[in-house]
Amino acid sequence: MERSVIIAGFGGQGVILAGKILAQAGMDHGLEVTWLPSYGPEMRGGTANCTVVLSEEPVGSPIVDEPTDLVAMNLPSLDKFEPMVARDGTIVMNRSLIERDLERTDVRPYLVDVHPLAEEAGSSRAINMVALGAYLKATGVVPLEVVKGAMARMLEEGGKGKFVPMNEKALELGYEAV
């Protein structure tokens, strides 16, 4: 089994962190992983994305031209990456910001209204965890509990331990939404 996901959105939507947490959780779960961010000035207010590959075998290419999955947090990201997703792949998209429907009919779409769920969890900043929760349920790639653990550890290491409960709630709400 090898899964690859591109998580993409505006800079500031937390897509880079969501990918890191997924990669950390994949590793904790005993998988081989790579995490590759977009980097450079495009992060300054522009778009950001990262690619996570999770595999039972050593990972070959960390750069992916046919991801099995996509998490699109805004329209430019969906426009850019939708055509690349593998057939029968999974697309989680942020319904709160993306009005259009998918053009692809050969993929499994999950439309999640992430913003109200993030607010419900405690802050609009938690949209990345809502989306990640939805992605976990849609694909089953790593168990929710493992992701919660990875998230808690990473936030604590970064001195942001007080946000753990909110982000846990956001992961759960996303998970339940699909």
Binding site: K20, A23, Q24, M27, E32, V33, T34, W35, L36, P37, Y39, G40, P41, V59, G60, S61, P62, I63, V64, D65, E66
Partner: protein, 351 residues
């Protein structure tokens, strides 16, 4: 061995250097190797070691020259434009028989170029970017864990031969994260003593470190000593990996990030029935000419793939020497090649 941790390539190189006993690190900021500097800024002072943010890359390489002359393990890091500025210093370090480690996290060039991953500095690294008849061991890691291993090897080889060693990686390797297990730290105090180092002429004749002599005959002798050392390195230190080459009709020759992308291509090509393999030089100097030549006599095609206009390609053609066809496919300017693009090149040569 330590615990398995998810780490960025830049951080792994920095942490591996610390564990190898690097006591002094000098650098000037540049993208895409910022995290290397930041890791050193956070950790070296805490360990009572030296971190200096130099006023320029020229400053940093000469600080490295000084620290190496003092006999400690020392390192500098930068990315392409900054490495260009270090060339004079590298020539001095080589000419003075000093061990030192230099990291180049390559980006697109020439000139200011961009900050995206590229492999356009291969000539500069392997053919002598500075002046004079010198060589530098060049190691090309392909994964984040290998970046850690080769950083430690770099310090060992530098000390063993008293030469500069370069880690030649690209922005993608620097930025990406992968699980890594680093070895336990070496205590610098336990490393072999360097009797040539500048430690103060107490109870011995003064040690003098130079790369010059105005008498051409003497300078020639100094050069011959260097050349003899380089032949020894060529004989003993060439490293490479072969992947699925046993029954291959076509092999890709690639190093660093491109080589790992090519591994995916090998798997995909084989699923299509194309007998594809990969030849991956790990030391770019010394280049593994002999093993590639031997492999070339068994295959039809050696396709070189690089993120450059074809620099390692010259070494591949030297090695293959007409034993197989040697086409080239490359991307430039920081455009990263993908498995799909490489596979469509491979198909051109498959029957």
């Amino acid at each position: 061995m330590g615990e398995r941790k998810l780490m960025r390539g830049n951080e792994v190189i920095a942490e591996a250097a610390i564990r190898a006993g690097c006591e002094c690190y000098f650098a000037y900021p540049i993208t895409p190797q910022a995290e290397l500097l930041e890791h050193m800024a956070r950790n070296m002072p805490r360990l009572g070691r030296t971190f200096v943010q130099a006023e320029s890359e020229i400053g940093a390489i000469n600080m490295l020259y000084g620290a190496a002359a003092a006999g400690v393990r020392a390192m500098t890091s930068s990315s392409s434009p900054g490495i260009s500025l270090k060339q004079e210093g590298i020539s001095y370090i080589a000419g003075s028989n000093l061990p030192a480690v230099i990291v180049n996290i390559m980006r697109g060039g020439p000139g200011l170029g961009d900050i995206a991953p590229a492999q356009g500095d291969y000539f500069q690294a392997t053919k002598g970017g500075g002046h004079g008849d010198y060589r530098m061991i060049v190691l090309g890691p392909s994964t984040v864990p290998e970046a850690g291993e080769l950083t430690i090897l770099a310090f060992d080889l530098a000390d063993k031969y008293r030469v500069p060693v370069m880690i030649l990686a690209d922005g993608m390797l620097g930025q990406m994260m992968e699980p890594v297990e680093l070895p336990d730290p070496v205590d610098p105090a336990t490393l072999p003593k360097k009797d040539w180092a500048l430690t103060g002429a107490k109870g011995r004749d003064p040690n003098i470190i130079l790369s010059f002599d105005l008498d051409p005959e003497v300078l020639k002798q100094m050069n011959l000593v260097l050349q003899e050392k380089y032949r020894k390195i060529e004989d003993n230190e060439a490293r490479y990996e072969e992947y699925q080459t046993d029954d291959a009709d076509i092999v890709i020759a690639a190093y660093g990030t491109v080589a790992r992308i090519a591994k995916t291509v090998v798997r995909r090509a084989r699923a299509e029935g194309i007998k594809l393999g990969l030849f991956r030089p790990i030391t770019l100097w010394p280049f593994p000419y002999e093993p590639l030549r031997e492999l070339a006599s068994r295959v039809k095609t050696v396709l070189t793939v690089e993120m450059s206009a074809g620099q390692m390609w010259e070494d591949v053609r030297l090695a293959v020497a007409e034993r197989a066809e040697t086409p080239f496919y490359g991307e430039m300017g920081g455009v990263v090649t993908t498995p799909k693009k490489i596979l469509s090149e491979v198909r051109k040569y498959a029957r």
